[in-house]
């Protein structure tokens, strides 16, 4: 869905704009009027005022899905369930920070499983072990005689694997298998958000490459936002495991912000840190930060600081909006001019913000065609 909306980088949940809070879900919402109506009913963002609004919309769509399912209209029911899933996901934002949020997260997962009940080829909920912990993910592969290339779809900080089903669908459409996995510290990934948790992603690639449906020599990765960082961190950490990567809105790669830009970056983050999505007496849902803390975070997370930048020599596609207020666009410029020029592509959209969801219709299909090309599938567009 291409929305005729204004553009303004923003984290304000009471405003619907390109580049704003609801950007994450725009491509998954059928009727913008439904979203607008729900936002108009919002009286606050703490879970007592937030969750019921989204739960009501989700329940309505889920009931519609149940009705269509009962009538044997599986295509219709899938559409309704996916809408239910998306509205539950908004209710869950930013994650399972309380029992209330956990319950609507369960609603989200249930609606998604219902949406996938009749998928062909089917979606399989899989589990694999790493360092004594169990990771649950979603696997899907085309029905083919020979093993096919595959893509690890890496989720970010506040969008879980149920919201990346479209990416898995696009993999299937391009003749590739796909494993969708929650980011560390979210959903059904028990690992903490820490640089060392890249090992969980490595384990996921190993699992994916070991599937009989998959050609383990041709595995790629795709990630958005924090997942866009993770995909590059994985590429630099385990370059031998990945043949191509797509990073949308990743940060920090190695681009060093100037003082003024860093101060603005901190200001925006602190503005976001005023919003509370948990219980009324809970602290803000995002931590505040400072220039000093961000410099320390850069030292801890930047690919350049981790010494893995030079390992990223496989084909890389980088995407973002030029006016990203959360992941500075300088990261892409930095990567274009760092290391070998071969194998790098970029799409930086002028009037778009974090993740360039305004141009989803351009970059999303193109991304998975690009992955199929780099991973060596030949597809006629049929699964």
């Amino acid at each position: 869905m291409t929305l005729e909306l204004a553009f303004a980088p923003s984290e304000d949940p009471f405003v619907i704009v390109h580049g704003g809070f609801y950007r994450r879900w725009f491509s998954m919402i059928d009727e913008i009027s439904e979203l607008e109506a729900a936002v108009a009913r919002l009286e606050g963002t703490t879970q007592d005022k937030w969750v019921p609004v989204w739960e009501e919309v989700g329940r309505r769509y889920e009931a519609e899905g149940d009705r269509l399912e009962e009538a044997g209209d599986f295509e219709g029911s899938r559409g309704a369930y996916l809408q239910a899933k998306t509205y539950y996901a908004i209710g869950r934002f930013p994650g399972e920070v309380s029992d209330v949020k956990k319950r609507i997260s369960d609603d989200c997962a249930r609606a998604y499983r219902k949406a996938c009940a009749h998928l062909e080829p089917p979606m399989e909920v899989v589990e694999f072990e790493h360092q004594g912990k169990t990771i649950r993910a979603h696997f899907r592969a085309p029905r083919t005689e020979a093993p096919v290339p595959a893509v690890l779809i890496m989720c970010g900080a506040d969008v879980f694997k149920e919201d990346r089903g479209w990416a898995q669908d696009m993999c299937i459409d391009n003749g590739m298998a796909a494993l969708v996995m929650d980011g560390p510290g979210t959903g059904e990934n028990p690992f903490p958000w820490a640089p060392e948790s890249v090992s969980a992603w490595e384990a996921a690639v190993d699992y994916l490459a070991g599937r009989p449906e998959v050609d383990g020599e041709h595995v790629g990765a795709f990630g958005i936002s924090r997942g866009g960082y993770s995909v590059m961190q994985l590429a630099g950490t385990a370059p031998e495991k990945l043949k191509a990567v797509v990073a949308n809105a990743g940060h920090p790669f190695g681009y060093v912000m100037g003082d003024e830009e860093l101060e603005e970056f901190v200001r925006v983050r602190n503005e976001r840190a005023t919003w509370r999505f948990g219980a009324p007496d809970d602290p803000p849902s995002f931590p505040s930060t400072s220039v000093e803390e961000e410099r320390a975070e850069f030292s801890r997370w930047a690919l350049s600081e981790q010494g893995i930048l030079e390992n990223i020599t496989m084909p890389v596609l980088m995407l973002n909006g030029k006016h990203d207020h959360l992941a500075p666009i300088g990261n892409i410029y930095f990567m274009l001019e760092t290391g070998p020029v071969t194998g790098k592509e970029a799409r930086v959209y002028s009037d778009a913000g974090h993740c360039a969801f305004k141009y989803f219709d351009h970059w999303a299909p193109g991304t998975f065609r690009w992955l199929a090309e780099k991973l060596g599938t030949v597809t006629d567009g049929e699964p």
């Binding site: 030029k322 020029v341 799409r347 959209y349």
Partner: protein, 367 residues
Amino acid sequence: MRVDPATTRTLLHPDPQVQEVLDIWAARFLVGQIPLGDLTATLDRIDNWSDWGPEWVATAQVHEELGEQAWDEGRRISAVDAFLAAARSYHLAYFLSVDDERAHSDGLAKMLECHDRVLPFMEPPVEKISIPFPDADLSGLLSVPAKGGPWPLVLLLPGLDSTKETRHGGRGPFLRRGMAVLSLDGPGQGEISTKLPIRHDYEVAVSAAIDALGERDDIDTTRVGLNGASLGGYYACRAAAFEPRVTAAVANCGPYSWIDCWDELPEVTRGAFRQYSWSKSDEEAREKARALDLTGVADKITQPLVVVHGMLDPLIGVEHARRIAEEAPNATLLTVDDATHGVSNLGYKFAPWVDDWMAERLGARIT
């Protein structure tokens, strides 16, 4: 950050200068409708760079003779095709043969002669227009969609060594989307190159072209797009920055700073700039190259701008595209992996989207 031209090598030749030209432009030749058979046969006859011009003249003459024969036999459609093929080969003969005066001047004259001879019979129709300009009029090739209008206008801007004739060959996608197309020979370009030298302030040429079309009923000069490749990408940026009637622009593999590219440019390219800037020496050309710089200019491009770049461009490094895209407030950046100068080898990866983008910005159609 120069890419080794050999990275995209597809044709082999024993002469290093010919090899370098092929490495950089072989894809462009094919996209420009030079038959692969002509390319390989002509290369077989070339022992070293000094043969380049004369041998392409010989190839052009084959097409020209076929054109004459078709013309004499009343086969006008075949004659048009043959004379245009001859013009394309004459362009190859002259465009970089700046040290071979005869090949250069004769090739340019013959290209224009063959092209203009069949101008009245081209489909879709092409009109040659004269554009008033100080010291010498500029020249353009104009095509307008069939009936109706007024149509928005796209100006196709040649670069250092392309011409309005070569650029107008790519008019189809714009006409099909409901845009009029004017391919321009500005200062230092094509038939104007003998009358006016290259100017860094190319916006004067764009302004003159828009002025010249302002009275036409079939063209809407309030909706003007620019599409420039190579040095034409620089010209598009420059014109967008200073000509407010420009609605949107595309800069494909253009330099931010020509002097920053200078020392690593191939000799033939430096020679071409020397020729078309009317410089008497390499040193003078180098000094003139300094003026082609978007410092303090790119940030004035407030119109929507798409910056396209091939990551394997051996002439212009990706840092030039980045600097333009970073400084122009409304710039979108598209880089294409495995693509050479002008993205000639992989045009399909960007051109359709960019053409649609332009159509939308100018209020033309995409379906």
